[in-house]
């Protein structure tokens, strides 16, 4: 038991004094600063905040598609800059919110592409890769979809496939950018509950940005809350007790109801 606890204490992603924003030749546009958090093994972490506050910028910075302005990002104890593209792909997988995949791929092919960081120069799939693909299909329970083409899938099914692809990449850290947009309420909850189960069973660290604050509050181990005044990090209990969520949105239309721990319309 103590060993398990020790493992869970292992920090997968650590962010210190991070400043994010956009940099061009002429000027620097800072979007958020003083961001600190550390994510442990097997945790499910939600990233919440209103539109335009910088959630996407933070995710882009964490996935190295945007350079940070200053501060430290460490994955498994090593600075993110020190990873080359392929070794970073073995540490961190990403699920993007935009649907960009070619719809002529089969589900199996999409998931197999998750194995690319481990394959040779021409991308040959080994028996080990095949085993991983089977394992992931079973884990997310989409065995029946395996030979379907992506254009035959519903949005909910496609999101499960993209999740499976990320798990096939077999990284300690998985980051998802708004995984529940385009989905109905049932599938939103379905995907987020699935993330919760996967974080527990596979002991991977899963960070996702979302607008489903109520669901995130009830499922996540930790929350990163981005607000104008600054970025907070804590468990849902801590955040609700300290009434940190009250000013998440401009208070003219909605407010946070402490009793029910949900947002309500005024």
């Amino acid at each position: 038991m103590s060993k398990l606890k020790e493992q869970q204490q292992h920090i997968v992603l650590e962010v210190n004094e991070l400043v994010i924003g956009y940099q061009s030749k002429k000027r620097v546009a800072e979007i958020a600063h003083n961001i600190n958090f550390s994510l442990k093994k097997g945790e499910l972490i939600g990233l919440i905040g209103s539109n335009g506050i910088g959630k996407s910028t933070l995710i882009k910075t964490l996935t190295k598609s945007l350079s940070k302005l200053s501060g430290k990002i460490q994955i498994n104890g090593k600075a993110i800059e020190s990873y080359d593209a392929n070794s970073l792909a073995q540490q961190l997988s990403v699920v993007f919110s935009k649907k960009t995949i070619s719809s002529n791929l089969t589900v199996e092919e999409v998931i197999a592409l998750g194995r690319q960081p481990y394959t040779n120069w021409i991308g040959s799939i080994t028996q080990q890769d095949l085993n991983k693909i089977e394992e992931v299909l079973e884990l997310i329970q989409i065995q029946d979809l395996r030979s379907k083409k992506c254009h035959e899938l519903s949005d909910g099914q496609l999101q499960k496939v993209m999740l499976a692809r990320a798990f096939a990449q077999d990284t300690d850290l998985i980051i998802l950018d708004e995984p529940t947009t385009h989905l109905d309420l049932y599938h939103k909850v379905y995907i987020l509950k699935l993330l919760k189960r996967l974080a527990e069973t596979t002991q991977k660290t899963i960070l996702f940005s979302t607008h489903e604050i109520n669901v995130a509050l009830s499922l996540c181990d930790q929350l990163i809350v981005m607000k104008k005044e600054g970025t907070l990090f804590g468990t849902p209990e801590e955040l609700t007790q300290t009434s940190s969520l009250n000013d998440l949105f401009p208070e003219d239309l909605i407010y946070f109801d402490l009793a029910s721990k949900t947002f309500k319309v005024k």
Partner: protein, 343 residues
Amino acid sequence: MRVSKSYTKLIILLIFLLIAVLVLNLSLGSVRIPINDIFEALTSFNPDKGTNHYIVLQYRLPKAITAVLVGSGLGASGLLMQTLFRNPLAGPYVLGLSSGASLGVALVILGSSLFGGYLGSLLLSKWSITIASSIGSFLVLLAVLAASIRVKNTMAILIIGLMFASVTAAIVSVLSYFSSAEQLQRYIFWSFGSLGDLSWTEIRVFLCIFAVGLLLSILSIKPLNSLLLGQDYAKSLGVNINSSRLVIIVATSLLAGSITAFAGPIAFIGLAVPHLTKLLINTSNHKIIVPAVLFTGAILMLICDTIAQLPYSVYTLPINAVTSLIGAPVVIWLLMRKKKLFV
């Protein structure tokens, strides 16, 4: 990605089809040469055996090899562009390569009178057209590469290529305006494309450039497959987008550029072959589709060439007209049946 057995069978079928079409192409022409004679000429050439051996080795075989290189090269570079730009309308010439080549050739043919006399006639020799067209496409290639290193957005490169194409087309029309009818005719004949003018020396040069382009295309298979998920995903899978993009563009330029230099701006094949192939083999996996486009391209080109030489007659149709006349209805027919077009 996985290669299943059914695809291997299809590829073997395509190889057999290619051999059959190749033999048919060698056999049919202004005179029909019996298949026995073709094999004899290929295995044990005997100059005394008469004209048939000579025709096969000096005329039809170089032409058939050119057709194979042109068809497969255009097919492969079309596929590369369609995947890179994720656009089913992209082809080998979207980067403006053929316009660059056209400009080079137009400057030589239409501008030769400006230099006059001996220099003018030197400029009109056959190698000079090949060289002019190579320099033209090479300069456009350099411009596109410079743009692609500076510009991060892949779509912008596509548009820059199109802009190059319209600028060069404009210069060509200015040149045409000041040219004589004879020069114009020469230029127009070049723009029809031709597979039959290459000597063995030229084919060797062509083959070397082609081989490098093909090698780079094969090296691009893995990044091309990850690009099917979109650029963001490819990047998150460890693909270096900038260098992969550069390799893909250089491969396309070598293939399409050498083809334009040696055979003229052959239309349609590069756009149609990837679609035809994907309609035959329903996959986007480049490990299967890259070899498949090479074969389909070669087969289609050989068929077009066989028709263009109008068997048993002394006439030859412009190859460019035949590729579109044969290819377009086939693509339309296949699309009407399957109804879907994928990148």
